[in-house]
Structures are given as structure tokens and as C-alpha cells.
Amino acid sequence: MKLFKKISIVLLATIIFTACSDDDNPTPVNEEEVITTLTATLTPVAGGDVITLQTRDLDGDGPNAPVVTVSGNLAANTTYNGSLELLNETENPAESINEEIEEEDDEHQFFYQATNSIATFTYSDTDGDGNPIGLEFQLVTSTAATGNITITLRHEPNKEAAGVSDGDITNAGGETDIQAVFPVTVQ
């Protein structure tokens, strides 16, 4: 019987040491890395209307699709200075994601594409290695036409691959953090 006494002691000890879980409600998680909102602000170099392109997805990876808005039409044959703002609006106040990208600028690059040759893009910023990032850029519109402007953010792209520093996404690799398509009219 001694044997079983010993076993019971071991059993009891384990139960005491490991039991008890609290019945509190779990704390909610507000996702820190989620980017809900991307806004591209296009300011004409020679003056004129500022155009914003925005995509906003307040439920993050939830079922609702992002809402895309374009504030107006772009002027033909015009040079715009572009800048991007990235926000996490699931937090209050909204958190800017720009800083994170700037801190790890060598691991991020934006790519700009336009259909129907409605615009061409050049990078206005560089990371520590002299490669482009794309938070700042310049956009030159063509003659009147309609098309899509696609903005893609790649995480850990191969910035040294052929064409990547000129904004060609083909060889970039990495993984996509943002991808937004804006229907645009140039007039």
C-alpha cells in the first residue's frame, strides 16, 4: 500500500502545480503590421489640382474588399511629384507604416506600372545601398487616355536583379505586401 501512497503524492503534486486556469476574457488583438490604407498623393510640379489615389481595407484580411478611390482625373503631359502614405487604421490613432519601411528600406521596394502607357514613373528616393525604395516618386502622364495604375510593395525583393532598380517587377521576387490597382483617366 505504501507504493500507492507515493503515487498519490506524485499525482497530487502534479495536479497542484499545473492546474488552475483563469476564466478571464482574452484581450483583443489589434494587428500591428496590417496595412489598411495606402494613399498616393500626386502633386503637379507646375501647380494645379492635387490628385489622391487611395485604397482602404478597414477589415484587413477580412472578407470585405478594399475600397479604391481616385479623387480626380490626371492632366495630360504633366509631371507630378508622388508620395505614399501607409496607415494601419485598425489602431486608434492610426499608425503610420512608413517609418517601418524607412527603417528597413533595403528590404522594401514599391513598383509602379501603368496600362495603355498613360504614365511613366521614376524613383525619387534611395536606400542606404543607393537602390530605389519608391515612397517618393515622380509620375509623368502621356496624352489623354484611360488605364490602370498598379502600385505593388514587395518585401525582400532582389534589388540587384536585372531591371529591378529601374522599376521592372519581373525579376524582383520577394513577397507582396501591398498590391493596389487604380483606374485612372488622363485628360
Partner: protein, 799 residues
Amino acid sequence: MKYYLLLLICCFYNTISSQNCNSNFSGVVQDFHDGTPIIAATVYIESLKKYTTTDNNGKFLFENLCDGEIEVIVSHISCETKRLNIEIKGNSYFKVSLEHHIEELGEIKIEGKSNNILTKTSQETLLKSESLERFSASSLGDALKLVSGVSSINTGNSIVKPVINGLHSSRVVVMTNGVRLQDQEWGIEHAPNIDLNTAGSINVIKGANALAYGGDAIGGVIVLKPSRVSLKDSLYGKTIISGQTNGRGFSANSSLTKTYQKGWFMGAQASLKRFGDFESPKYNLTNTGLNSKGFSLNGGYKSFEQGFNVYYSFLDNEIAILKASHIGNIEDLVNAINSQNPLVIEKFSYDINPPRQEVTHQIIKADFYKRFENFGRLEAQYDFQNNQRYEYDIRVGDDKNKPAIDLTLKTHSFRTSLKVDSNSSSTYEFGFNAGFQDNFANPDTGVRRLIPDYDKYDFGVFAITSLKPNENTNIDFGIRYDFNRIDAKKFYLSSRWSERDYDKDFSDIVIDDLGTQLLTNPIFNYHNISASMGVSYKIDEKSSMIFNYGLSNRAPNPAELFSDGLHHSAARIELGDLRIKQETSNRVSGVYRYENNAFYINIEPFYNHIKDYIFIEPTSTEQTLRGAFPVWSYNQTNASLYGIDIASNYKFNQQWSFNHKSSFIKGRDLKQRIALIDMPSFKTVNIISYSNSKWLNFNSELQSELILRQNDYPNYNFEVYVPTTEEFVEVDVSTPPPTYHLLHFQSDITLNLSTKTDLNIGLNITNVFNISYREYLNRSRYFSDDLGRNIMLQLKLNY
């Protein structure tokens, strides 16, 4: 010390010599269980070197003994030898009970065939330590593929989940040293966290016919048992060291056991594995290494009548996941699928970078048993498991070193069973178990929980009876009832809540509204009934048949109910469903076995009808800011799975033999009238082996493994618009990879270093011809080829 002994002996001598030496010592030797006399048992008085044997009534007699203490050894073939200290005072009578069914005690039976199967009427296969040791450096799932009908579902090469007749995850129960493993049930990425080196043998039972282990094992039960402890004064152990070319790694495992004749035993085991990036024939598989550490301690007391065992095990696995499988959105997935090579190939490294998993599993167990004469055996066990799982994704900024998943799963369970086996033609077993599980999903990850916090309560009772109406027939019946309760606290995005229409059916479980998120408290109760019936019949000396039927219910697991979120390495959004009900399986199966001296064949057909079969399938795509993602939802249908497993062996002569294993399975979705997703394809393994005991126990074998393309698959391919190329492309997530054929070679010799020590040197070459292939059931197949050639040298030292 010597003097004391001398003194003691003198005293004894004095007392003995001064007493009467005309005493008779008589007695009876009988079976412990049913009290029947044991004929021709040897009774030996050690100190006097006197022998006798029992007569037809189990009786024995020694005449003219001196009074005093004597040591008597009672032995009988196929029984456990018993030592007794008996005091003779005048004419003495003594009843000795021997254990007749020695295999139940788990002793090593020296004569005849040891046949430690757990069930008599199921499709069951036993893997012994000799076969398992070869897999010392690999995973449980790899070793189990030795059993026909068992395959695996993988994420890369280190996360391997066993699949029994097409079923896996929570449909397969894994028992290790009597403990039901709780860590591997959710989804494909959660492999059983188990060190194969802790197992002395493994029994694989197909189907839910082992009700003692749980009623929900629709796929089957895998029982890992530690090496058996023999009751003698001994110290023994073994060390296995292996080094291999693929992954440029090593694995070491060492164990030491001390046993005492009186029944006490203790043992310790430790293992270590370290691998760098593995490689396919053409390229390095960047970030696929493994770092595993584990140890276990075991101790207790064991005698025929009673015993106890205390066990602790610790295992920490750090597993790298192929970097090229980490995907940002569907466009990346398209690129990855369409690219012949992985998108990230770097130089070899031992680094384990994100994406990676780190899982720590601890088990504490205490059990005891007691046998009651002419009645049966009572067992009770308590165990506790702690599973800590971290999954690290590739993250940015301050979150870089934070896990994306941080789950702590704690499980307590208690079980007890009573086996009434006093009658050898009918035994009864009754059991009860209760369990409590607590899952905690740490919010500090900054990522919405994929699996929520929950408490789970389990309660089960069962009764099993085994009848033996005649020498050639065994019949088993079993019935089991299980109650499961899940009490979860889960946050839902308000948008998801209404998209799934939960606002209509589940509005009463919302306990807090945080604007964009809702806190809910789903509580589900499940009542499950399982039953099994089996008959085995020995047709003649060479052939036998088994037929069995099993009914089982499985309650949905937390992943199937609550999964909600983005799985990066699969580039898919996975959604559970609160409406999922339990699934019910009706399985009939049979075994036909023929065996003569040179040849055996085992044929195992089965048919499994599963009502409300739970599975995950692609259902749509969702747009996020990152782009489109395919959505995979848990769904239910009625399914039928059927197939046949064949294993056979032919011995040409003492040296040469041929071994064959095949398994064929079909899975149908009866509602949609299409094939089931993720069903293993036809596989056949043929082995030719040569062994010669004269050449240092030389063994070698050449194995051919042929896996045909799965032609029966559901087509879930879909089209998606890719903005960067401005076109619609088809995302081929369905088409299985082509047929492949691999050759493996293996050879070993054994050197006897001393009477107690031997050294086994083994050479294993897998994928001899360095063939490039992809396996349908490997989730990394979209991204890279499977492993190329591996040469492994293994040293096994037994001492």
C-alpha cells in the same frame, strides 16, 4: 561489511542446525488468473540445490527439510519465473500462483515467437525496435511508412503527419507510453511532436477498433511503447549515432536502463538532431533545417501483481520551413507554381530563419496497476502534457522577432481501466477517462489568433469483451461513449461575422462588441457513441481471417470550428465553421493471411463510409490590400473511402528474400460526386534483400518505391487577375505531380565487441539515383522538388 556477513551467516547456521530436519514442504502451483493447476512446473530450492516438478494436479512435495528460511524458484515454460522466500516450520504447505499469459506483462518471451499485438481482431501491424532504429534520425511519419496503407502528409520534409488509409490529423490517435498525444490535431502543419527514439515498438491499428484509446480514431491508432524492462539485475543501453550527407547533419541518441530483479527499474534517454538546409537533386532547399533536442526519464517498480511507472519526457523541435513557400498574395503563388525552381535559393546554411516553428512538448505521467488473484487487473493513470508552439513568420520592423502564433496547450487526463481475465475464454475490460484541456493563444503576437482560447472537457466510458468460443476463433465486442465540451472565447471581425451569417444563427453567443471586432463565447457539447465488433478465425494451420466493423464519431476540432485567418506559407485564408457537426464513420474491413515457412501474404481490404466528413477545400477568393487570396473553408460532405493494402514476403532460401507492399485507396465525395482532395495515390514498394550471418551478420536490401500519379483528384483550379502582367491566369492548385520511382539501398553488419556489447554499422542510401520528384501530399510541392540523394552512415552500439 565482510565481518557482518560472516556474523550473519554464523547466526543462521546456528539457528538452522539447531532445528528439526524432518519437515515436509508441499504445495501447489496454479495459474494466477483462473486457479487451474500448472503441470510440470519446476520447483527448485536454491540453497539446497533440490529439484522437483509438479504433478497432474499441480502439486509438489519435498521431504525431510530443515526448518528455516529457504529460497524457492518456481518456473514453467511460457510462465514468468517466480522467486519466493519461504519460512519452513514443521510441515509447510504453500500455494504458488504463476502468470500464464506472459505477454500481457510485457516480458521478453525467450522461446517461440513474440507476438505483441494489441488486438486480435483488427488490422494491426507491429513495428519492432530493429526496424525503428533505422529511422533514429527521421520522424515518426517516415518510420510508419513501413506499414502498407500508411502514408504521410508533409509540409516540407520535417513536418510529417501520418496518414492511415487516407485519414490524418485528429482522425489518428497517437499514444506514447500510454499517453494520448495532444498537439498535432489541428491542420497539416501540426505534426506529432514525438521523438521516435523513445519508442521500443509501434503498433499501428487501422480503423477505430481500439476503443480503449478513444472513440474518435476514425483513421486509426498508433501506439508507441517504450522498450520492455526485464526483471533481472542488469544495466544496459544503446547509442545510435548517424551522420548524413543531405542536410549535412547528424543525429545522436543514447539510452541507459538499470533494472533490478526485485522489480525496480529506471532509465534515461536523450537525443539530439541537427540538420542544415536539405537539398533536392538540382538545388538547395533554403531554410529547411532542423534542430531537435529531447530527453526522457522513466522509473518505477514492476512485479507480476503490482507496479507503477513515473515518466517524464521533454522534446524541443525547431523546424525551418522552406523560405520559397512564404508567399505574399496569389500573384506570388502563381509565380511560385509556374516557376520550375523555388523563388529563393541561397547557399547552404545551418541557420533556421523565419518562417519557422518552435514546438516544445513535455509529458509527465504516473500510472499504477494491481492484479487481483482469480479476478483481473486494475490500472490507473494520470498524465499532464504541456505543448508550447511558436510559429514565426517573416515580419517587419519591431515585430521581426515576434512569433505570429504563440499557443500554449495544457492537457490533464486521468484514466482507469479494469480488465477481468480470470477466465481464459472470455475477458472483459471496463474503462473510464476524464480530461481537461486549456488552450491559450497569446495576444502579444500582434496577429489575430488563428486558434482561439478555449477550455475542453472530455469524458469517456467503455466496455470491451473478448470471447474465445473455440481454439480457432476470437470475437471482440466493444462499446464506448464520449462526451466532449468546448468552451471557447473567440474574437470575430464584425465583417466576417456577418459574411458568414453568424449574426442570424449565433447572435446569443456574442458577449462583447468592440466595434470592428466581436468577442464571442461559443460552447459546444458533443455526445459520441462508438462501437466495434471483430471476429478472427483460423482456417487452418496456414491461413486465417479477420473481419471487423467499427462505428465511430468524431467531434470537430478547434481548427475545424474556429480557424480564421491568413496562412502565409500556404498563401490562403483558412476558415472554420461554427456549424460543423461531428462526423460518423462506419468502417468494415477484413484481413486474410496465409503463411507457410517460406511465404506469407497479408491482404487487408476496407470500406469506410463517413457521414458529414469534415475537409478543407478552396471555395473562393478574397481581395485584401495585399491582393487576392484563395479562401479555403472547412466543409462537410458524405464520403466513402475504400481500398486494399497488401503485404507479402517470400524467402527464396536462408539468404535471399523478396518483400512486397502495396496500397490502393479511393476517396469519393458522395454529395458532389467528385474525388476527395488529398487522397494518397497508389504506391507499391518492392524489396529484395540478402543476408548472411556468416559475414558479420551482413544484411542488405534494395528497395524500389513506385508512386503513381494521383489521377483521381478534384479540380479546384481557379482564374485570377494579375495586375502586374494585366492578364487572367489559372491558378493550378489541384493538378497532382507525375508518377515517380525511387530506389533506396541499405546495408549493415554487426560486430560483437564483447559478450554484452555489439556494434552495428549501417549504410543507408535513399533516392540512389538522385531523382527529382514532387509528392502530391507534400504542401511544399508547389514550390520545390522533394529531397535528393541522401547517404547516411549509422553506428549502433548496444551494451
